[in-house]
């Protein structure tokens, strides 16, 4: 797989500008605008029915926006459909596989459908099979594969035309933890190859771990779009750090709470692990660590607690399943 070069690295790969889309009088997207930067892994989160799949379908040219402009690599998704389709790979939230085919036949079919010559097809299929670790299953019927394997086959299909942008709709839904972790590893590998990945998912901790940027959408409106680090400042979520001590220290929680700028501290399930949140307007991470050392605590670990995407999600979206 070749790594992508998309001209100027500052020009957004996806530009969604003031998009409105309704279904039977119900507004699915309400003046939605956001950008996805090149070679980033951009998360797209929101409750069920928030408008994620509609947005993805518009970006991948399956749906025409009723109002607004969507550009992918500078090409309009309405006027330059073919150009857009050649540059993107879309993985829908269902498997979308020919279950009676073998994995190899399936990939060969899509490679040929993208117009790849015979020799190139062989090479590309071998590469995507290696990348998705499916070489050993290439002659298996897709119907006989596990859910995780079928999802990998779908991902392999998306990669056969070597797209610069991957649009993944709930790729980890219904997968067991191992399959999920393996899928995330593949996504990391793809990002390191220079692909831009736009991923819709409900599994927030993994997105927080993986993504450079995130867009949060609720009831068809963008609630936040930007970098992960910017999320905590813009949403007033307090940065949270996890402090691991050599042993449990009595009364340490109260002493930590007394440090300047600290808004909350608690012990994690009786272990010598403490979660400390601070007000970023009053202090910073260095000052917090210094304060902790001044308390004489036997610190053996100090890591950022990635819980803030969960918190931001809960803060920015409304209650209830739509």
């Amino acid at each position: 797989m070749s790594s992508s070069t998309n001209g100027s690295s500052t020009r957004p790969v996806i530009e969604v500008d003031d998009v409105v889309h309704s279904f039977k009088g119900r507004r699915a997207l309400d003046h939605v605008s956001f950008k996805v930067m090149p070679q980033s892994l951009h998360g797209f989160v929101g409750p069920n029915g928030a408008g994620k799949t509609t947005s993805l379908k518009i970006i991948c040219t399956l749906l025409r926006p009723q109002f607004g402009i969507v550009k992918v690599f500078g090409h309009d998704v309405v006027d330059e459909q073919k150009m857009v389709r050649r540059k993107i790979g879309f993985m829908p939230d269902h498997f979308s596989t020919y279950r009676q085919m073998t994995v190899y036949e399936y990939l060969d079919f899509f490679a040929a459908a993208y117009g790849l010559p015979f020799a190139q097809r062989t090479r590309v299929i071998d590469e995507v099979l290696a990348l998705t670790d499916m070489e050993g299953r290439k002659n298996d019927l897709i119907s006989g594969l596990s859910r995780g394997m079928q999802q990998r086959t779908s991902l392999a299909r998306v990669l056969v035309n070597d797209p610069d942008l991957l649009l993944l709709d709930e790729p980890a839904s219904g997968l067991d933890p191992r399959a999920r972790i393996e899928l995330m590893e593949i996504l990391k590998a793809l990002r390191s190859m220079g692909k831009t990945i736009f991923i819709s998912s409900h599994i927030l901790p993994e997105l927080a771990e993986l993504c450079d940027a995130v867009t949060i959408i609720d009831k068809g409106k963008v609630m936040y779009s930007g970098t992960m680090s910017g999320l905590q400042t813009s949403t007033n979520v307090h940065p949270t750090w996890r402090v691991t001590l050599g042993s449990v220290v009595d009364g340490i929680v109260d002493r930590i709470k007394g440090l300047p700028g600290v808004v909350d501290a608690d012990q994690v399930e009786g272990r010598p692990d403490y979660r400390v949140s601070y007000d970023w307007t009053m202090t910073d991470t260095n000052s917090l660590l210094r304060g902790l050392l001044d308390l004489g605590a036997p610190i053996i670990g100090f890591t950022e607690d990635k819980r803030h995407l969960n918190d931001a999600f809960m803060d920015l979206t409304t209650k209830g399943v739509k």
Partner: protein, 523 residues
Amino acid sequence: MYFGLIALLTRALRLDARQLRNHVFRLAFVGFIYLSMLWATIWSSMFGAPGLQFFEHIVWLNVLFISCAGVGYFSSAITEEKEEETIGLLQMAGLNHLGILLGKSTSRLIQVILLLIVQFPFMLLAVTLGGVTTQQIIAAYVDLMAYTVLLANTGLVCSVVFQRGGNAAAVTTVLMVMHSVSPVVATAELTFLKASGWTKTNGWMSAILNSLEWIEESSVLKELTKVTTTGFNEPVFTKQVLSNIGVGIFFFGLAWLLFGPSVNNAAPGGTTRGGVVKSTSRMKFLSPGRCWVNPFVWKDFQFIGGGYLLFVVKLIAYLGLFAGIGGISNIYGSVLGFDFTRVGEIFFGCMLFAFVVESCISASRVFHDEIRMQTMSSLLMLPRSIPYVGYSKAIGCMLGLTPALLCLGLAVMQLNVTPEAVLRSLIEPAFWGVIMAFLVFLHLIALLSLFVKWGALPLAFFLMGPLSGCCPVAFAVASFGQRQAVDSWGNLPATITIWILTGLVCFVFQMMIAARLQELGTR
């Protein structure tokens, strides 16, 4: 069990009662009866016994409808639960095998019988038109209901045994065709045995002769022919009614018996490749191999048309049929009353039937399979247009029809006609009228398969009549088709007009198919 059974049955009936389209469909059926009655009244000044004509018309329409629609409807009773993987949930809800069978199949049986009952009062009006008695009408409807019971339970057994609705429907069709053909065979055999000196005085001979008589009398077609004859005055409960209900109950019992082993021991991942060989098998030379330059043609030839293996198997089977008919004419020709000159005609008839059936199956699957497997969105994302994908897929399916077409050509060569006669028929408007009507029919099947989950073929069959009746193009084609010029070439303008008219209709269908594919792909 009774609570669960009643809950399932009530749910099915409530669902049926709430769905507007079911009532519209029944209303359309009644409307069609009304139109037929109006037609009979208008023509009553020219023909005698318009009531009988109207009665016959509706009775045969019912047979056609029950046979065509019933196959898909009844054979999907259990397979739809299997395909949606909800059969386990039904069992977990406390329903035992009998409860599920009764709940799933009885509601469908009731719905079809309701469709028959709703017509009954209107049919009684036929008596006032003259030529038919109330006795005939009651007898015909009892016959139809008994036939429905038989078909419903045959479909149920297939639905229990097979994992996929398509397979169940195919086997149900084969069984029902056998059921229609068996009385003819029984009649021939009875004649032959009686001529050979068999009598009912001997015990075992009597048993065989009685069985053959029952088989002979079991056909609804034969029974309805009797019922629709002027002067019919026989009991309502005939051998056909008793045998059809009896066999229906037996099949229900069989379905109950087979439910556990078939449903609970089914292998997971039900999708199979049919006759498509895997590249790792011993016969890998018949496997699909690598994709062709046009991948859509390759895919549909391999996975809808049946691929190389089915191509060879079909060719051998059709040629074997030809050899078989030839052999029978050679050995038993004098007994059966046909010589070698009729072999071509019989083979032509068989191949025409095979070609029509294969084409209809391909048309019902060509786009429906993409919807069923939810692959349409992936296809739409390809840098190919919908027409390119659609026409390529159609070509792939047509390749699968090659064995039937080749053998049809062989059958034409066996017919006792000169090349000039063949050429003349090729420019006859009537010939093209039939070909073009068939093309429109295939388009209708393909279009309907994008709207209904199952049963596109019977629905198209059912709709084809009213559609042609309402469509001015069909009238034009029919009138041009009936034109006879003194010189054969004089027919050419009429033939070309038929091509143009049908081309236009097919184009409209193709546009509708493309629009529907786009809509389904974006869902």
